[in-house]
Amino acid sequence: MTIHSVQTSYKVEVAAEKTADSTPSSLGAATSSYLLDAIFGTDATPSTAPSKDDIQNTEDAVDVINLLCEILELAKEGSGDIPDLGNRLLAILRKDPAKMQEVLGNGLYNLAAHIAKDAGHLNYQDILNRFNAKNAGPNLIAGYLDSNKTTINYLLSHMGGPGSSGLPDFDAASQKFLGDMTMILLTLSTTATDSFSSSIADEFFGFMNASFGGDVLANLLMMNAKEHTRNAADAKSLYNRLVLSLQIAEPNAPAIVKDLISDVEKHPYQDNIDPADIAYALEQARKAANNFFGE
Protein backbone atom coordinates (compact mmCIF):
# COMPACT_ATOMS: atom_id res chain seq x y z
CA MET A 1 0.00 0.00 0.00
CA THR A 2 1.46 3.31 -1.02
CA ILE A 3 0.86 6.08 1.43
CA HIS A 4 1.92 9.64 0.89
CA SER A 5 2.66 12.24 3.49
CA VAL A 6 3.35 15.93 3.98
CA GLN A 7 4.68 18.21 6.68
CA THR A 8 1.55 19.95 7.89
CA SER A 9 -0.54 20.05 11.00
CA TYR A 10 -4.27 20.42 11.22
CA LYS A 11 -7.10 20.90 13.58
CA VAL A 12 -9.58 18.10 14.14
CA GLU A 13 -13.22 18.94 13.78
CA VAL A 14 -16.31 16.87 14.25
CA ALA A 15 -18.20 15.80 11.16
CA ALA A 16 -21.62 17.10 10.35
CA GLU A 17 -24.68 15.13 11.35
CA LYS A 18 -25.69 12.63 8.70
CA THR A 19 -29.06 13.18 7.17
CA ALA A 20 -31.29 10.16 7.06
CA ASP A 21 -32.26 10.08 3.41
CA SER A 22 -29.35 11.89 1.85
CA THR A 23 -27.94 10.76 -1.47
CA PRO A 24 -24.26 10.86 -2.38
CA SER A 25 -23.22 14.28 -3.58
CA SER A 26 -21.02 15.10 -6.53
CA LEU A 27 -18.67 16.75 -4.09
CA GLY A 28 -18.40 13.61 -1.98
CA ALA A 29 -17.67 11.44 -5.01
CA ALA A 30 -15.01 13.85 -6.21
CA THR A 31 -13.42 14.09 -2.76
CA SER A 32 -13.26 10.31 -2.37
CA SER A 33 -11.66 10.06 -5.79
CA TYR A 34 -9.07 12.77 -5.00
CA LEU A 35 -8.21 11.29 -1.60
CA LEU A 36 -7.85 7.74 -2.91
CA ASP A 37 -5.65 8.99 -5.71
CA ALA A 38 -3.44 11.29 -3.65
CA ILE A 39 -3.06 9.21 -0.51
CA PHE A 40 -3.20 5.65 -1.77
CA GLY A 41 -2.24 6.16 -5.39
CA THR A 42 -5.26 4.14 -6.45
CA ASP A 43 -5.95 5.92 -9.69
CA ALA A 44 -6.33 2.42 -11.00
CA THR A 45 -8.59 3.11 -13.87
CA PRO A 46 -7.67 6.09 -16.01
CA SER A 47 -10.52 7.98 -17.66
CA THR A 48 -9.05 7.18 -21.02
CA ALA A 49 -7.63 3.83 -21.96
CA PRO A 50 -3.86 3.51 -22.34
CA SER A 51 -2.65 3.28 -25.94
CA LYS A 52 -2.29 -0.07 -27.67
CA ASP A 53 1.47 0.38 -27.52
CA ASP A 54 1.33 0.97 -23.76
CA ILE A 55 -0.73 -2.17 -23.28
CA GLN A 56 1.50 -4.27 -25.52
CA ASN A 57 4.62 -2.98 -23.77
CA THR A 58 3.11 -3.72 -20.39
CA GLU A 59 2.12 -7.24 -21.43
CA ASP A 60 5.63 -7.88 -22.81
CA ALA A 61 7.21 -6.53 -19.62
CA VAL A 62 4.94 -8.70 -17.47
CA ASP A 63 5.93 -11.69 -19.64
CA VAL A 64 9.61 -10.89 -19.06
CA ILE A 65 9.14 -10.56 -15.32
CA ASN A 66 7.06 -13.71 -15.13
CA LEU A 67 9.70 -15.68 -17.05
CA LEU A 68 12.34 -14.40 -14.63
CA CYS A 69 10.21 -15.62 -11.73
CA GLU A 70 9.65 -18.99 -13.40
CA ILE A 71 13.38 -19.41 -14.02
CA LEU A 72 14.02 -18.64 -10.38
CA GLU A 73 11.45 -21.21 -9.30
CA LEU A 74 12.71 -23.91 -11.65
CA ALA A 75 16.32 -23.25 -10.68
CA LYS A 76 15.34 -23.78 -7.09
CA GLU A 77 13.91 -27.17 -7.98
CA GLY A 78 16.91 -28.10 -10.12
CA SER A 79 14.71 -28.42 -13.19
CA GLY A 80 16.22 -28.92 -16.64
CA ASP A 81 13.65 -26.64 -18.30
CA ILE A 82 15.61 -23.46 -17.66
CA PRO A 83 17.32 -23.13 -21.06
CA ASP A 84 13.91 -23.21 -22.77
CA LEU A 85 12.64 -20.43 -20.52
CA GLY A 86 15.86 -18.52 -21.14
CA ASN A 87 15.24 -18.74 -24.89
CA ARG A 88 11.67 -17.50 -24.48
CA LEU A 89 13.00 -14.62 -22.41
CA LEU A 90 15.60 -13.74 -25.04
CA ALA A 91 12.95 -13.86 -27.77
CA ILE A 92 10.86 -11.21 -26.01
CA LEU A 93 13.87 -9.02 -25.21
CA ARG A 94 15.02 -9.21 -28.83
CA LYS A 95 11.66 -8.19 -30.32
CA ASP A 96 12.71 -4.57 -29.90
CA PRO A 97 15.68 -4.30 -27.52
CA ALA A 98 15.68 -0.51 -27.37
CA LYS A 99 11.97 -0.39 -26.57
CA MET A 100 12.23 -3.15 -23.98
CA GLN A 101 15.15 -1.38 -22.33
CA GLU A 102 13.11 1.81 -22.20
CA VAL A 103 10.02 0.05 -20.85
CA LEU A 104 11.72 -2.16 -18.28
CA GLY A 105 14.39 0.32 -17.26
CA ASN A 106 18.09 -0.38 -17.51
CA GLY A 107 18.39 -2.34 -14.28
CA LEU A 108 15.57 -4.77 -14.94
CA TYR A 109 16.46 -5.12 -18.62
CA ASN A 110 20.08 -5.93 -17.78
CA LEU A 111 19.07 -8.42 -15.10
CA ALA A 112 16.73 -10.18 -17.57
CA ALA A 113 19.30 -10.11 -20.37
CA HIS A 114 22.06 -11.55 -18.21
CA ILE A 115 19.90 -14.32 -16.82
CA ALA A 116 18.46 -15.13 -20.26
CA LYS A 117 21.91 -15.28 -21.86
CA ASP A 118 23.37 -17.55 -19.20
CA ALA A 119 20.23 -19.48 -18.32
CA GLY A 120 21.62 -22.72 -19.73
CA HIS A 121 24.47 -23.06 -17.32
CA LEU A 122 23.52 -21.19 -14.18
CA ASN A 123 22.57 -23.15 -11.10
CA TYR A 124 20.03 -21.97 -8.55
CA GLN A 125 22.56 -20.22 -6.38
CA ASP A 126 23.97 -18.33 -9.39
CA ILE A 127 20.50 -17.23 -10.44
CA LEU A 128 19.50 -16.36 -6.91
CA ASN A 129 22.68 -14.34 -6.49
CA ARG A 130 21.96 -12.36 -9.65
CA PHE A 131 18.29 -11.99 -8.87
CA ASN A 132 18.76 -11.06 -5.27
CA ALA A 133 22.06 -9.20 -5.43
CA LYS A 134 21.55 -6.35 -3.00
CA ASN A 135 17.87 -7.26 -3.25
CA ALA A 136 18.01 -5.81 -6.75
CA GLY A 137 15.59 -8.13 -8.56
CA PRO A 138 12.58 -7.77 -6.29
CA ASN A 139 13.05 -4.04 -6.03
CA LEU A 140 13.49 -3.52 -9.73
CA ILE A 141 10.33 -5.52 -10.32
CA ALA A 142 8.48 -3.69 -7.58
CA GLY A 143 9.67 -0.38 -9.05
CA TYR A 144 8.41 -1.42 -12.47
CA LEU A 145 5.03 -2.52 -11.11
CA ASP A 146 4.67 0.69 -9.14
CA SER A 147 5.54 3.00 -11.98
CA ASN A 148 3.23 1.13 -14.37
CA LYS A 149 0.47 0.58 -11.86
CA THR A 150 -2.10 2.55 -13.77
CA THR A 151 -1.79 0.51 -16.95
CA ILE A 152 -1.54 -2.79 -15.09
CA ASN A 153 -4.59 -2.00 -13.01
CA TYR A 154 -6.39 -0.93 -16.17
CA LEU A 155 -5.63 -4.30 -17.73
CA LEU A 156 -6.68 -6.15 -14.59
CA SER A 157 -9.90 -4.22 -14.30
CA HIS A 158 -10.88 -4.71 -17.93
CA MET A 159 -10.62 -8.45 -18.04
CA GLY A 160 -14.28 -9.17 -17.73
CA GLY A 161 -15.98 -10.27 -14.58
CA PRO A 162 -15.70 -13.76 -13.26
CA GLY A 163 -18.87 -15.76 -12.98
CA SER A 164 -19.90 -17.95 -10.12
CA SER A 165 -17.26 -20.50 -11.00
CA GLY A 166 -14.41 -17.98 -11.26
CA LEU A 167 -11.73 -18.12 -13.86
CA PRO A 168 -13.38 -20.03 -16.69
CA ASP A 169 -15.31 -16.87 -17.60
CA PHE A 170 -12.10 -14.98 -18.37
CA ASP A 171 -10.75 -15.24 -21.89
CA ALA A 172 -7.43 -16.98 -22.48
CA ALA A 173 -5.38 -13.78 -22.70
CA SER A 174 -6.88 -12.46 -19.46
CA GLN A 175 -6.26 -15.75 -17.71
CA LYS A 176 -2.65 -15.66 -18.82
CA PHE A 177 -2.16 -12.09 -17.64
CA LEU A 178 -3.80 -12.79 -14.29
CA GLY A 179 -1.77 -15.96 -13.93
CA ASP A 180 1.46 -14.13 -14.74
CA MET A 181 0.68 -11.40 -12.23
CA THR A 182 -0.07 -13.99 -9.57
CA MET A 183 3.22 -15.79 -10.17
CA ILE A 184 5.12 -12.50 -10.08
CA LEU A 185 3.49 -11.45 -6.85
CA LEU A 186 4.13 -14.83 -5.27
CA THR A 187 7.79 -14.66 -6.16
CA LEU A 188 8.10 -11.02 -5.23
CA SER A 189 6.44 -11.40 -1.87
CA THR A 190 8.48 -14.45 -0.94
CA THR A 191 11.87 -13.22 -2.17
CA ALA A 192 11.68 -9.52 -1.38
CA THR A 193 13.51 -8.45 1.71
CA ASP A 194 12.28 -4.93 2.16
CA SER A 195 9.00 -3.36 3.04
CA PHE A 196 8.70 -1.53 -0.28
CA SER A 197 8.51 -4.70 -2.34
CA SER A 198 6.11 -6.40 0.01
CA SER A 199 3.94 -3.31 0.10
CA ILE A 200 3.68 -3.45 -3.69
CA ALA A 201 2.72 -7.11 -3.48
CA ASP A 202 0.23 -6.23 -0.77
CA GLU A 203 -1.31 -3.54 -2.91
CA PHE A 204 -1.75 -5.79 -5.93
CA PHE A 205 -3.02 -8.73 -3.89
CA GLY A 206 -5.47 -6.36 -2.26
CA PHE A 207 -6.54 -5.02 -5.63
CA MET A 208 -6.99 -8.46 -7.11
CA ASN A 209 -8.81 -9.74 -4.07
CA ALA A 210 -11.11 -6.71 -4.01
CA SER A 211 -11.71 -6.81 -7.75
CA PHE A 212 -12.07 -10.50 -8.33
CA GLY A 213 -12.60 -12.07 -4.92
CA GLY A 214 -10.93 -14.82 -3.00
CA ASP A 215 -12.37 -17.54 -5.22
CA VAL A 216 -10.63 -16.09 -8.25
CA LEU A 217 -7.33 -15.84 -6.41
CA ALA A 218 -7.78 -19.47 -5.42
CA ASN A 219 -8.64 -20.46 -8.96
CA LEU A 220 -5.65 -18.56 -10.26
CA LEU A 221 -3.51 -20.71 -8.08
CA MET A 222 -5.11 -23.84 -9.39
CA MET A 223 -4.69 -22.61 -12.96
CA ASN A 224 -1.02 -22.05 -12.27
CA ALA A 225 -0.81 -25.40 -10.60
CA LYS A 226 -2.11 -27.02 -13.76
CA GLU A 227 -0.01 -24.97 -16.15
CA HIS A 228 3.26 -24.78 -14.36
CA THR A 229 3.52 -27.86 -12.27
CA ARG A 230 4.79 -31.24 -13.20
CA ASN A 231 3.62 -33.04 -10.09
CA ALA A 232 1.45 -32.72 -7.04
CA ALA A 233 4.37 -31.51 -4.93
CA ASP A 234 4.60 -28.42 -7.12
CA ALA A 235 0.91 -27.77 -6.61
CA LYS A 236 1.28 -28.10 -2.87
CA SER A 237 4.28 -25.80 -2.92
CA LEU A 238 2.37 -23.19 -4.91
CA TYR A 239 -0.58 -23.41 -2.61
CA ASN A 240 1.55 -23.10 0.48
CA ARG A 241 3.34 -20.10 -0.96
CA LEU A 242 0.11 -18.36 -1.87
CA VAL A 243 -1.20 -18.75 1.66
CA LEU A 244 2.07 -17.64 3.17
CA SER A 245 2.31 -14.72 0.79
CA LEU A 246 -1.13 -13.61 1.82
CA GLN A 247 -0.12 -13.90 5.45
CA ILE A 248 3.00 -11.86 4.88
CA ALA A 249 1.30 -9.30 2.70
CA GLU A 250 -1.81 -9.03 4.80
CA PRO A 251 -1.04 -9.13 8.53
CA ASN A 252 -4.72 -9.43 9.31
CA ALA A 253 -5.48 -12.10 6.75
CA PRO A 254 -7.34 -14.88 8.56
CA ALA A 255 -10.59 -14.11 6.76
CA ILE A 256 -8.88 -14.03 3.39
CA VAL A 257 -6.99 -17.23 4.09
CA LYS A 258 -10.12 -18.96 5.34
CA ASP A 259 -12.15 -17.77 2.35
CA LEU A 260 -9.41 -18.93 0.07
CA ILE A 261 -9.33 -22.38 1.58
CA SER A 262 -13.09 -22.58 1.48
CA ASP A 263 -13.20 -21.51 -2.16
CA VAL A 264 -10.55 -23.97 -3.19
CA GLU A 265 -12.48 -26.70 -1.46
CA LYS A 266 -15.56 -25.69 -3.40
CA HIS A 267 -13.77 -25.33 -6.72
CA PRO A 268 -10.71 -27.51 -6.68
CA TYR A 269 -9.50 -27.45 -10.26
CA GLN A 270 -7.94 -30.78 -9.78
CA ASP A 271 -8.29 -32.34 -13.23
CA ASN A 272 -4.58 -33.02 -13.48
CA ILE A 273 -3.79 -33.24 -9.81
CA ASP A 274 -4.49 -36.08 -7.43
CA PRO A 275 -7.41 -35.02 -5.18
CA ALA A 276 -5.58 -36.56 -2.23
CA ASP A 277 -2.73 -34.13 -2.82
CA ILE A 278 -5.11 -31.19 -2.96
CA ALA A 279 -6.59 -32.33 0.34
CA TYR A 280 -3.09 -32.58 1.75
CA ALA A 281 -2.23 -29.08 0.48
CA LEU A 282 -5.39 -27.66 2.00
CA GLU A 283 -4.61 -29.28 5.31
CA GLN A 284 -1.09 -27.86 5.22
CA ALA A 285 -2.48 -24.43 4.38
CA ARG A 286 -4.87 -24.70 7.31
CA LYS A 287 -2.03 -25.63 9.63
CA ALA A 288 0.05 -22.77 8.28
CA ALA A 289 -2.78 -20.31 8.80
CA ASN A 290 -3.52 -21.60 12.30
CA ASN A 291 0.13 -21.59 13.20
CA PHE A 292 0.67 -18.12 11.84
CA PHE A 293 -2.32 -16.58 13.54
CA GLY A 294 -2.10 -18.70 16.64
CA GLU A 295 -5.65 -19.98 16.26
Binding site: P24, S25, A29, T31
Partner: protein
Protein backbone atom coordinates in the same frame (compact mmCIF):
# COMPACT_ATOMS: atom_id res chain seq x y z
CA UNK B 1 -3.92 7.08 17.28
CA UNK B 2 -6.98 4.83 17.41
CA UNK B 3 -9.09 7.83 18.33
CA UNK B 4 -7.81 9.77 15.32
CA UNK B 5 -8.52 6.85 13.01
CA UNK B 6 -12.06 6.52 14.35
CA UNK B 7 -12.67 10.24 13.84
CA UNK B 8 -11.43 10.08 10.29
CA UNK B 9 -13.49 6.96 9.65
CA UNK B 10 -16.54 8.88 10.81
CA UNK B 11 -15.67 11.73 8.48
CA UNK B 12 -15.30 9.31 5.59
CA UNK B 13 -18.62 7.64 6.42
CA UNK B 14 -20.25 11.00 5.88
CA UNK B 15 -18.19 12.09 2.92
CA UNK B 16 -21.06 11.66 0.51
CA UNK B 17 -23.00 14.36 2.34
CA UNK B 18 -20.00 16.65 2.26
CA UNK B 19 -20.54 20.41 1.97
CA UNK B 20 -17.90 22.83 0.63
CA UNK B 21 -17.30 24.38 4.06
CA UNK B 22 -16.35 20.99 5.52
CA UNK B 23 -14.14 19.94 2.65
CA UNK B 24 -10.96 21.66 3.76
CA UNK B 25 -11.25 20.02 7.17
CA UNK B 26 -11.67 16.53 5.67
CA UNK B 27 -8.70 16.93 3.35
CA UNK B 28 -6.51 18.49 6.03
CA UNK B 29 -7.38 15.86 8.60
CA UNK B 30 -6.71 13.10 6.07
CA UNK B 31 -3.27 14.40 5.24
CA UNK B 32 -2.36 14.93 8.86
CA UNK B 33 -3.48 11.44 9.88
CA UNK B 34 -1.72 9.73 6.99
CA UNK B 35 1.43 11.61 7.82
CA UNK B 36 1.34 9.98 11.23
CA UNK B 37 0.53 6.56 9.76
CA UNK B 38 3.45 6.86 7.37
CA UNK B 39 5.77 7.82 10.20
CA UNK B 40 4.78 4.66 12.06
CA UNK B 41 5.18 2.56 8.93
CA UNK B 42 8.66 3.90 8.36
CA UNK B 43 10.00 4.17 11.84
CA UNK B 44 7.74 2.21 14.18
CA UNK B 45 8.29 -1.13 15.84
CA UNK B 46 6.98 -4.27 14.13
CA UNK B 47 3.75 -4.02 16.11
CA UNK B 48 3.37 -0.33 15.32
CA UNK B 49 3.96 -0.99 11.63
CA UNK B 50 1.31 -3.70 11.58
CA UNK B 51 -1.13 -1.45 13.43
CA UNK B 52 -0.39 1.43 11.06
CA UNK B 53 -1.00 -0.81 8.05
CA UNK B 54 -4.33 -1.89 9.53
CA UNK B 55 -5.29 1.72 10.15
CA UNK B 56 -4.48 2.60 6.56
CA UNK B 57 -6.45 -0.36 5.28
CA UNK B 58 -9.49 0.56 7.38
CA UNK B 59 -9.48 4.10 6.06
CA UNK B 60 -8.91 2.99 2.51
CA UNK B 61 -11.79 0.49 2.71
CA UNK B 62 -14.09 3.16 4.09
CA UNK B 63 -13.16 5.60 1.32
CA UNK B 64 -13.57 2.93 -1.34
CA UNK B 65 -16.98 2.00 0.03
CA UNK B 66 -18.12 5.62 -0.09
CA UNK B 67 -16.72 6.00 -3.60
CA UNK B 68 -18.62 2.85 -4.68
CA UNK B 69 -21.86 4.17 -3.15
CA UNK B 70 -21.40 7.49 -4.88
CA UNK B 71 -20.67 5.85 -8.22
CA UNK B 72 -23.84 3.78 -7.91
CA UNK B 73 -25.95 6.80 -6.97
CA UNK B 74 -24.50 8.92 -9.74
CA UNK B 75 -24.73 5.99 -12.17
CA UNK B 76 -21.14 6.33 -13.24
CA UNK B 77 -18.48 3.66 -13.56
CA UNK B 78 -15.06 3.56 -11.93
CA UNK B 79 -13.65 4.56 -15.31
CA UNK B 80 -15.81 7.65 -15.38
CA UNK B 81 -15.23 8.80 -11.80
CA UNK B 82 -11.93 10.58 -12.41
CA UNK B 83 -13.32 12.38 -15.43
CA UNK B 84 -16.47 13.27 -13.49
CA UNK B 85 -14.44 14.68 -10.61
CA UNK B 86 -12.42 16.83 -12.99
CA UNK B 87 -15.36 18.35 -14.86
CA UNK B 88 -16.42 21.76 -13.57
CA UNK B 89 -19.90 21.31 -15.07
CA UNK B 90 -20.76 18.74 -12.39
CA UNK B 91 -20.36 21.21 -9.50
CA UNK B 92 -21.62 24.53 -8.23
CA UNK B 93 -19.17 27.43 -8.15
CA UNK B 94 -18.71 27.09 -4.43
CA UNK B 95 -18.12 23.35 -4.71
CA UNK B 96 -15.67 23.81 -7.56
CA UNK B 97 -13.68 26.37 -5.59
CA UNK B 98 -13.46 23.98 -2.63
CA UNK B 99 -12.49 21.12 -4.92
CA UNK B 100 -9.81 23.15 -6.66
CA UNK B 101 -8.28 24.07 -3.34
CA UNK B 102 -8.37 20.45 -2.20
CA UNK B 103 -6.86 19.25 -5.44
CA UNK B 104 -4.05 21.77 -5.12
CA UNK B 105 -3.35 20.73 -1.55
CA UNK B 106 -3.40 17.02 -2.34
CA UNK B 107 -1.30 17.57 -5.42
CA UNK B 108 1.44 19.33 -3.40
CA UNK B 109 1.23 16.55 -0.88
CA UNK B 110 1.72 13.89 -3.52
CA UNK B 111 4.54 15.78 -5.24
CA UNK B 112 6.33 16.13 -1.95
CA UNK B 113 6.21 12.42 -1.33
CA UNK B 114 7.04 11.48 -4.89
CA UNK B 115 10.14 13.62 -4.59
CA UNK B 116 11.20 12.10 -1.33
CA UNK B 117 10.37 8.49 -2.12
CA UNK B 118 11.51 8.17 -5.73
CA UNK B 119 12.41 4.75 -7.05
CA UNK B 120 15.99 5.94 -7.39
CA UNK B 121 16.12 6.73 -3.72
CA UNK B 122 14.62 3.37 -2.89
CA UNK B 123 17.30 1.71 -4.99
CA UNK B 124 19.94 3.63 -3.10
CA UNK B 125 18.39 2.52 0.16
CA UNK B 126 18.70 -1.04 -1.01
CA UNK B 127 22.43 -0.66 -1.45
CA UNK B 128 22.62 -0.72 2.31
CA UNK B 129 22.92 -4.15 3.94
CA UNK B 130 19.56 -5.41 5.10
CA UNK B 131 18.46 -8.11 7.41
CA UNK B 132 16.55 -10.81 5.60
CA UNK B 133 13.08 -11.54 6.81
CA UNK B 134 12.94 -14.95 8.35
CA UNK B 135 10.23 -16.08 6.00
CA UNK B 136 11.84 -19.35 5.10
CA UNK B 137 11.30 -20.57 8.63
CA UNK B 138 7.58 -20.36 8.00
CA UNK B 139 7.69 -22.29 4.74
CA UNK B 140 6.16 -25.71 4.81
CA UNK B 141 8.06 -28.79 3.82
CA UNK B 142 6.55 -30.16 0.63
Amino acid sequence: MEEKIEKLEELYKEINELTPDKMDMVVSESIHTFEQILEKLNEGTKEEKEAAMQHAKRLKSQLEKQADDAMQALKISKDELNAYASDKKNFSEEEWAALSKAREELSSYREHIDETRSVEELKEENEKPKKKRAKSAKWLAV
